[in-house]
Symmetry: C3
């Protein structure tokens, strides 16, 4: 958080250590997803760790650049270490992680829920408008995975299939609507995270897709 | 426009409402191009709207990041709504839009002409040098389409075929040269837009390409 | 260099003209690499020059955006001219350059060595942490080539094969470690450039790759 801007969202009521641990955990899970995709694409050890960093950090970096503030993750080495470490784990134990496919997918959904809420809160803290904060929250959650797919030469999966962006948009919307209604307290981010995570789980369980254009 | 920087280009003499309407119209046409390309690539409804936003906004966002100012379009929700709305139109009525191929191509040329001129003016207003302002003007016009092609896993068409970047560079150059010569007045942006649009129309009509390297 | 920030690294002891000439030479060599790749991909003359600019400038621009400062190369037209000129040379004389394959590869290694050291120094000058400065130094060296491959629809070679990112990380680390140890003087950047270049040459000579994940 940029110390010069007084935060306006309830997220700052969370104990900073808990928030840091949550953020690092989300970064780690996203880094695993990047590392695993890189192993499948047969990148070398540097490439696998780099993809871990990209997926772990790119969403938040994109959000900060679009807000117009220095990317916060480049001011805290722990995010780089955790994301690169996740890539290293993927390089060393890809088979073990592949067998954990479903739990990782669920943890990834939890990371998505966390990041869309922290992303929207950060945007509001920097006095961005409501719709922009919703979009920036979603970008925080989906940006890393989009860049992963572009680097690995695939059309981003989030644009094509699955229920991934919609829960992120809804989670971010809950934060923004509560803020506009003057609702404070920790229940706001908790609700945003919970609803986003729940919708994502439903999407995973029933293998839901968004509508596609007619042939 | 960043209110803290006194504008130096004639663009600020344009009635702000007219300029806004023009900019939103250009954003809409660019958003249609993104949405249509996304429909052809079989993205889902979120992907189609997201591509509309990317093509409508990415050029101006890239310009602002390269200048070093907070992206202006993320400070005004109307651009997001118009670009996303254009994507939605492309999702709902792709066949109707496909039949309008040529009028849309011409409107896209008008958007290109507008954006290279407003882009170069914005750059000059922020005290960027002349050559840099020309390049930033062209990026404002062509950046969205380039990112569309990269996301859809194609080599950007603007780098390969057609007469698209050259009219943008010429339109931006007219703004910059007039500024350096101390020529003021609304005729400057009008000339930049007119010349860029005309060259683009000639390129469309005669299906002109730029020279390619020998085999 | 942003004049408002007093530099803390030994790089500012280098005669500014010498540093500028070195930087422009590195930009030119990187621009050649972008232009040649664009000629091979059969882009048109604008595309070839644009790829020269992308490879010559994108690493430093990405570094500056991640630090949170206005990209320096967009405040100095000489970099644009040199990088675009390198693209033009590649367009006009691709066969002649292709025959120079090995010397260009070696010059590219020299550019990599220079850019990772200047990149890490710039990051330290802006009070970024040590690990972040190492990563930003490497990004300065490899970012342009990565974007070249993404635009040309290839998985970035630096993530897949060769010994390219590792020497950049080591060269940047030398700068950062010396800074943390309080070691000053011109021998620091010279050592960083020399070691990076040497490892890169060894990688070229023995055709070394980094470890890959098991099949």
């Amino acid at each position: 958080m940029d110390a010069r801007v007084p935060p306006v969202t309830p997220l700052h009521e969370v104990d900073p250590t808990i928030l840091l641990v949550l953020n690092l955990a989300g970064t780690f899970v996203f880094g695993l997803s990047g590392g695993l995709a890189a192993v499948r694409a047969r990148l070398d050890i540097f490439g696998v760790m780099a993809l871990g960093v990209v997926v772990g950090l790119a969403g938040g970096i994109t959000r900060d650049v679009l807000i117009g503030i220095p990317p916060q993750t480049f001011r805290d080495w722990r995010y780089l270490v955790v994301a690169g470490g996740a890539g290293l784990v993927a390089f060393l134990a890809p088979r073990w992680l592949d067998r954990l496919g479903r739990p990782i997918l669920i943890l990834d959904g939890a990371g998505l829920a966390l990041f869309c809420v922290t992303g929207a809160s950060t945007a509001l803290d920097h006095h961005v408008g409501g719709l922009e904060a919703v979009v920036l929250g979603a970008i925080t959650g989906i940006g890393g995975g989009m860049l992963r797919d572009i680097i690995l030469r695939e059309i981003p999966i989030v644009l094509r299939a699955g229920l991934y962006a919609i829960p992120a948009l809804i989670g971010a919307s809950i934060v923004v609507v509560a803020y506009k209604l003057g609702i404070h307290g920790l229940m706001v981010p908790v609700a945003g995270i919970g609803v986003c995570f729940l919708i994502r789980l439903i999407g995973i369980h029933y293998d839901l897709d968004m509508p596609r254009p007619p042939e």
